[in-house]
Symmetry: D3
Subunit: 196 residues, 6 copies
């Protein structure tokens, strides 16, 4: 199987989005996120170390293919601080991306992370200078490493045309230099969020 | 005149773009950028301190209104490390934004900075949760502070539809869930860059 | 009016103070400061995102001239995380500085920020190599961008001669190489704090 | 094949090594490493952007299993800034780890990075609180994401017993509370570096 | 006495450990650690500034020699955020190291700090390229500065052979390429922790 | 001798100056400063690692008392990246401060570092809330650790009254609310720099 790990390592979202923060450094060996705490801080408050268990550092589920039965034919399974509380303060996360044949991961940025991607199976096309949208010619699976415990995800199309409440159509018509009817049409297209 | 400084301080591009890096800290009193050096580094190499002059820390020109005679009716005059070499390593920059009546600053992100904005003259509408696109009801002038010597600027429309070379139309048609003819139309609209 | 935006962008407090930290990066889209929380952290804890409103990202008041009827003839109106709770974790803030004719902003440092300044109206003299004290020849208004949500402000004169409790006069006499009577005189001069 | 992606995501080297720096943030869209430059800086100097090509952001080779025919029965194929010059300034890298049956990745730390690991094939045992040494019960392949362009690697055994020149045996005998003959024996065991 | 301050300043643990994070920057003048708070964050939450006293910034005890009557003949007295609550958010700490004649500080790393060391009395041998283990030829005292409020300490021998619960002996035998009986012997040697 | 290490650990310059940057993290094991290089960057460029020697990480001279025969009766011997090229990129430095009886270290700030101080011999008075000026009642020696490779030093008196060229006397008279004759007198007092 190892030979099916594809030869393409793509560095996504660079010229296109290039959102490149690095998380602050940790100040203790670990600070496992206490997601139930009413106290909210930059990142998450820590569980009492006495209550930390091995489960806080594990996640089971990346073996399951994501459901690519959607319009884009792709699915992102994110493994960040919400899935692994032990990632809190550590500045790193992971994701699995599944592609149906000819599926694509729509143009997006990670506002708090850089990303490195390796194809596990299949073939992936993409060149971030002209686009961050890879298209696929077969089922494909990729693993990406991200430099934040909580990289964030902004799918351009959704953010512009699918926001709730909607951006005023006249504003978008001017911004995109098209007539308002077209904007109305685009706003109707958007969108179930298939990205996490 | 001071009374014409408007009452609106808008924090742009947060939920929408939210790209939030902070520049690395400086390691000396100043490191004035030597833009002519053949040596390229993260940021810019420094001029010999013996050759640093007061001009390296000044920029004249923010008094001139930007030309808003363009499709969006707005103009950004950036003052970053390219305009003020002394900003190198200091992690801060500034911009003036001019708006014609009903002008707008198209949806954009700064991949390496947060932004704070104060309206100097006129009225500015904007709400980053539904949009980062302010529209205007009169001539307006705003000053923004940014947390990087080189904030970067990604105008969404240009990046998606106006890239050179073009993103494949079929890919965009799928990404935006519209037919390819519409993408062709959108790609023809884009775009002179009026943003610096 | 735009033509009255002055041509001088001054980078203050560099060689003189040069305090140049950058705030830690954010770990979520926003973390609006909950100033009423009894829990105190580096920065401020966040409000429940359900309770965040547009007002958390706005401040009205920079249109009002600061009161320059004081000994220095200047006034700083700071807009930082205390005025805009939404600035929490974002590493940027703003201030308006008003100057009466011949007013000056006394020598100061921002221990946690760099600063960039643009003159909106009037003329401002300053050269940080020999001094960070600008003097004015007319009413003037300036806007400064700062690279911290909470830049801090240390007015040199106040810190040395106006501290409460007072620094021992004998110590200051030795530090400044003057007789103690002079120090007593200086300590009597200081000082209402007009800086925020 | 996707179903063979294992269910174990292990966060390695935390309590054991926990070296947790984050790379400084970038100050431009990209700064592709010029590995041939005689000028050496923190990180690497950048190529002229005119000479940057798509190849600077790609690496082919993670499809090839590493040679696990060595004493530990494991092999790390690192993909960092030395393999992908475009990673320079971006603070992220990747590695593939192959394990022969019962192979292990010897105790190690990454002095400049945190690490997140997903098993692609096989089963991997490991618990960083008592050890960072995973042992295997079958061929296995894992992908790790690391939060630095150049994570570094310190294999404890090599560093202590296999350094060149050798650490004085008497010193190690005292440090490890064993007789010097045993140290001599251990020093003879160490070690070809199989880690990149 | 000043003449007994030795001439050796050693930069320890560089090539050997090189763990080199820097603490996040502070966001207020001080944030004195409230060690009794049930709320746990990255670093420590702050005491109410009203309750801060001079004692929060002082520590008395570095005048007392550490007890070097142990197997390594050395003792580290750490002064970090646990001893001086006022160090919280400030990114610096200190330690005193005492050595009995021929004592040594066993191989170790500080996962969150760099270290600089000055010998106050006696002579200290050490060269981090081949080892970070200094040996001594007389009573000696050294002071080290560290770049974190909580540098952490990993004594290699203890971490590998003295962990609780124990690392599986078979795993270590393979990792260190020795027979398991030897590992058993080494595990019996380890170890009271004399390092803070 | 160890018993003469005083019991006072003072955290200086906090509320008073509080300049609190942390140096950017290193991106390689070491980057020994090449002080002779014509290329200037944030920090210093690195020597060729082939030419690095043990001397690059050592400094001999902290055993020599500084000359306190000056007006303040104190002397700072700094050991930073200029004295130890190997400190480049490591974010830490050290200093020895000597005090003559009743000597004092004039009010100062370190714009790029926090500071922790331990008294080696003698007694040192200081309280940074009211002042950072310690006075002495005997010969004393202190060692300070600083969180930057190049902390910087701004002695308030020199910066305000002893700058070259001079700050305009009229400006200072207004800033300090005294008559200009007094400023002239103060400017004549300043000052040989005894601080490194």
């Amino acid at each position: 199987m190892a030979s099916t790990i594809s030869m393409v390592v793509v560095l996504l979202a660079l010229a296109y989005s290039g959102a490149l923060a690095s998380d602050p450094s940790p100040l203790q060996d670990f600070c496992v996120a206490d997601k139930a705490s009413p106290v909210l801080v930059n990142g998450l408050v820590c569980k009492n170390p006495m209550n930390v268990t091995a489960e806080d550092f594990f996640f089971c589920g990346l073996n399951k293919p994501g459901n690519t039965n959607n319009k884009q034919g792709s699915n992102v399974t994110a493994v960040n601080v919400m899935q692994i509380p032990g990632l809190n303060t550590l500045g790193v996360s992971l994701a699995r991306i599944d592609f149906a044949p000819y599926g694509l991961n729509p143009p997006h940025t990670h506002p708090r992370a850089t990303e490195i991607l390796t194809v596990i199976e299949g073939t992936l096309h993409g060149s971030f200078t002209s686009s961050s949208t890879p298209d696929m010619h077969a089922d494909a699976v990729a693993i990406t490493g991200l430099s934040s415990q909580n990289p964030g995800l902004i799918t351009i199309g959704n953010a512009v045309f699918g926001s709730d409440p909607k951006i005023d159509g006249g504003v978008l018509a001017k911004a995109f230099q098209v007539d308002k009817g077209l904007i109305d049409y685009l706003q109707k297209q958007f969108w179930m969020d298939n990205s996490n």
